[in-house]
Amino acid sequence: MSDVVPIHEALERFVTARLGPDAQPVVSGVQRVTTGRSRENWLFDLAWTDRGQRQTEPLIVRQDPEGGLIDTERATEFAVLQALEGSNVLAPRARWLDETGTELSKPSLVMSRSAGTCEYYCINGERPLADRVALGKRFGELLGSVHRVEWDDTVLGTLFGDPGSGAALHELDRWESILASDQLEPWPELTLAGQWLRTHAPQNDQTVLVHADFKPGNILLDENDGVTALLDWELAHLGDRHEDLGWVTQPLRRGEHLIDEAWEAEDLFAHYEKATGLTVDRDSVSWWNVFATFKTAVMQISGLRAYVEGRIDEPYQPSGAVLRELLGRVS
């Protein structure tokens, strides 16, 4: 691919500036891992000399897209990954940041590349039922490990601020603000949903680190179905643990997380409670289910703007399933 050469050269300059020329860094195997304009991820291997020993490390560069469904900051993701080092959460290790994009052409985050692959529908794929239920349990424990992060000992408190008991309204404000800035035309469906959400918002009883896009598609599994890393921390923030639980159990994403009659939402909640010692308020989860659908619709509306402005290739719009689910829940 013609754009490999410039990024290869830029990466060599970038890592040399960080490690110093005496480390004799060599970049190899540069490869773009996704197509289209909505994601910019590059894989590469780095070799360098440290105290006379030649070292190698597989790395990945995540670059800000020209236009994604939502605008997020690479610097925020970098800070989250740094804060997670030393925690029990399996996450990539942050290596370097080009915050302004002056060295790698776009704001970029360089992080360790964990082994394994992501499977969006592993929970309802071809594995035996017992293995799929075991995966469901493992994912519940992984989510619990995120919520058990002692964030007040890290930079996360300063980075995000503690929304306290008003976490639900805090997130609603945030996504209504994104809607207001990105919508190209009125969406009375979302006005209606936003009003319902505001009227029924639950109180948060304990602030935790929220991943905010927890799904098998962001979890790397090794050949034994062990989790090697939880990826994509760009939406992470401090908030209510029920936000992630509501995202995971929202009806429209059921196929990614739950198994009919074998691994239902109640099974997940019970396992999560046992693994974490945290309780699950079912009414709160129900509100966050609706919020998850609202957020999905806003992301699609942001994607629509990005498409119209020529920044992505997929013509997003709130789907019939999303609008039906939303309008059916906000009575």
């Binding site: 035309e185 969406w187 009375p188 006005t191 209606l192 290739d313 019939g320 059916g328």
Partner: protein, 143 residues
């Protein structure tokens, strides 16, 4: 007038189908072209019924706005006359008025009734929208 817009778009999709099969294409180009064909077919699916849908939605939205249970928030027929004639632009304006009405409705019984009427129409609109359904369904008297 033939070919209709949908027929024309389907013709373009057929042309591109042949190009997708070209073995000289790179995988990235083949994928991009396949996406373009998919989008063209999706567009064709709703092209001919779009005008009918917009006219139906505009009429139903206007009816709600002029008969809101909260009289002070009703749109007058004079205000409706000021809206664009073009059904696409008119639709955007009417949906803006519905959103504005939702924001202004009181939380009393009449406000809730008006909100429920708007909600019901929006649900029907999702079912009838040819951009969202292969087989759009308009509400019947039973609905």
């Amino acid at each position: 007038m033939r070919p209709t817009i949908a027929e024309h778009l389907l013709g373009i999709a057929r042309l591109l189908d042949d190009v997708v099969e070209d073995e000289g294409l790179s995988e990235a180009s083949r994928q991009a072209l396949a996406d373009a064909v998919k989008q063209t077919r999706r567009l064709a699916g709703g092209a001919d019924s779009r005008h009918e849908f917009l006219c139906w939605d505009n009429e139903a939205s206007a009816e709600i706005l002029v008969t809101l249970d909260v009289a002070a928030l009703r749109t007058s027929t004079g205000e409706l006359d000021q809206l664009a004639d073009d059904p696409v632009e008119r639709n955007v304006e009417l949906r803006g008025l519905l959103a504005a009405a939702l924001r202004s409705l009181p939380k009393d019984e009449r406000g809730l009734e008006s909100r429920a009427r708007i909600q019901q129409h929006l649900r029907h609109r999702v079912d009838a929208n040819p951009a969202l359904n292969k087989q759009p369904r308009y509400p019947t008297e039973d609905d």
